[in-house]
Symmetry: C2
Subunit: 188 residues, 2 copies
């Protein structure tokens, strides 16, 4: 039996996306974004939704570029911290000790210690309400070699990525492998 | 050491969103969408990206409404099947035996057997390339009572939702609880 819980922003899983940018002076910043995901296959695009009070908002407008970084479990404290504190009042890279690396393709930094970085140039800006969607065209993805499988693709199990549950504000680990997509559905 | 893998659509986790619609004759359809997520807090919005050849694409345009359903692990075969076969050639509800329930708020069906359904009216249409983003304003969320926690919120652990890894086309289960957001980052 289903119960109505009202018009809430609940969906699972939502990703833990650490969006990195430079400000006008070149200071790197990092922010934790749960409202986002892949938005188009060709051109390859990723969407991140950000409130206009955020430092990241003005940084993306200043440089028309950002990176989306996926943290592994061991960096859960740093990832959560990036969502608690504002880059307007604190240098979050200094505070965490994580290393910003200048992307060779776009005018934004990525996080050296995290397993996966998506380098984006700003393609579209859609104001929806409290949040504005920034659509980034993916220029390249850089992955730690230890997170790649034998075919050279990033493997979620090896990455040890984690996810966010907005219903309970909880982080969950990647669980067990359940099956191959476009395959298990043929066996009904 | 990071390795460049090119401009691919890889991010983890991506959700397994079953988007349900009616066609012009009122036949219900269901489609598996990985490119999507929450897009705005107020008004509460969800984004799903869909190719224009899909049955779901024309159905959303016909009725300006859709639902987003989260399957539990036990329905992985049905969820995967919804991503393999087209509603243009097969009645996917009949084939799976799942039950379409007419939403009382929007002109779209939701899936009775799945733990969570998000009822949406179409708010915006953004053509990005191969995919068009449909932004749905969330009118209500309906949840199986067994998936609610003591505070009345959907609990990812109880839902037994699963996720998609586009890097390896694999489905993964929800793993163990790792910590509370907006809390673990204070303890660095």
């Amino acid at each position: 039996m289903k119960k109505s819980i009202g018009a809430k922003t609940i969906l699972f899983p939502t990703p833990v996306l650490i969006v990195c940018t430079y400000d006008a002076k070149g200071t790197p910043n990092a922010m934790n974004v749960a409202w986002g995901g892949i938005a188009c296959s060709e051109p390859p695009c990723v969407a991140v939704s950000i409130r206009d009070q955020r430092k990241t908002y003005e940084n993306i407008l200043a440089h028309k570029a950002f990176t989306v970084n996926i943290p592994s479990e061991r960096y859960i404290k740093e990832a959560d911290y990036f969502g608690i504190v504002s880059g307007k009042t604190e240098d979050k890279f200094k505070a965490t000790g994580l290393t910003p690396v200048k992307s060779d393709l776009v005018n934004a930094p990525y996080i050296k210690e995290f397993p996966l970085a998506i380098e984006c140039t700003l393609k579209e800006i859609y104001k929806l309400g409290t949040h504005t969607q920034f659509i980034g065209e993916i220029n390249d993805i850089k992955v730690e070699e230890s997170a790649l499988n034998a075919k050279g693709f990033p493997d979620a199990g090896k990455m040890k990525a984690f996810m966010f549950d907005p219903g309970t504000s909880a982080y969950y680990a990647t669980g067990k492998f359940l099956g191959q997509a476009f395959t298990v559905g043929k066996k009904r």
